[in-house]
Homo-oligomer: 191 residues x 2
DNA sequence: CCTACCGATCGGTAGG
DNA sequence: CCTACCGATCGGTAGG
């Protein structure tokens, strides 16, 4: 069979694709219908509103990043090992879920106040995983202790959250090499 | 006098503000008119189209970053000094022109193909300034030479291009401290 | 999931 | 910069 009815998760997945590519406000419900081979009005049997779709995509993103952080913190190993696990996990989440990640990173600000506040909270919890590992490393001598874990976390996450903007799978840099370069840069710097 | 007629640059400035805050597609010409105290239709005596406004804001951004890079490369000094100048210049451009920078970074992808291609070219030229300094530094022994200047440039620019998302003037970190932390992190890393 | 709509809003124009 | 519009498109609904 070539055609089947779409499920709600098909609709959410397609929404992630279009939101990532053209932005939330640049995507109409008719665009989304076309992507799925049906009319815009037919989408309302799957979702309550357009916002509803954005909420679903962004919550998927939050869940993925959170799950990755939890797994990485569960690792026993040095602070460097756990930092590397966080980096590697983040890279995997982004590259295995490009549309969701892009929507999570760029379109969450289009959410209404209530949902946006929730996302900010979830991002802060995720960032806290990085802060904790950096603090641990500063405490046990793995990392220098004159560096502010909060600021350093932001710098690291800035690098990680930009990967979707430039990395091309199949290009000169393999995923493993990317993780390696990131870890090297973060831990040793240019000097 | 409290009220004067708006100039074209007033309109472009207001457009930058709204595009930065609500996105290009999230801003209507009527929104923009309201911001300036006139009707949406009245804007067309200043601009040809909504796209025209986005082009102007984004080109302003490109010019600012380019000017900063040119000034920094003109510095004579070690590779570290010039890298620090590039970082400091970038921070100044972003923090002194938040709306333009945000629009340049987040909304340029909404441009039509022709203008988007131009912006990509300009960004690449700007990135080339970073690559050159990193290459110089790898050549004269200032920086390690097992690091790829292209990848490192991307990492550094990723940190710089995220500053608008989290930095709050008047907060715990002064602008000078921000530049200091960035330079330290980039050159020495965590280790 | 479609037919057949709804009121609101969109970017933009003619003519002053 | 306003008045007075235009056709197109928007998110969404009723009823099947």
């Amino acid at each position: 069979m070539v055609t089947t009815r779409n499920s709600r998760s098909d609709v959410v997945a397609a929404a992630g694709r279009l939101f990532a590519e053209k932005g939330y406000h640049g995507t109409s419900m008719r665009d989304l219908g076309r992507e799925l081979g049906l009319l815009g009005s037919s989408l309302y049997s799957h979702v309550d509103s357009k916002q509803d779709l954005l909420v679903s995509v962004v919550e998927d993103g939050a869940r993925l990043f959170q799950a990755s952080a939890t797994a990485s913190l569960g690792t026993d190993g040095s602070a460097s090992d756990r930092l590397r696990a966080l980096i590697s996990g983040h890279v995997d989440v982004v590259l295995d879920n490009l549309d969701v990640s892009r929507t999570f990173l760029n379109e969450a600000r289009m959410l209404d106040d209530r949902h946006r506040a929730k996302v900010i909270e979830e991002r802060d919890r995720y960032e806290a995983a990085f802060r904790r590992v950096l603090s641990d490393g500063a405490g046990d001598g793995s990392f220098r202790d004159d560096i502010d874990p909060k600021t350093a976390s932001i710098f690291i996450l800035s690098m990680l959250n930009a990967i979707d903007r430039w990395y091309r799978p199949g290009g000169a840099l393999s995923r493993e090499q990317l993780v390696e370069e990131l870890s090297l840069f973060v831990i040793d710097g240019l000097g």
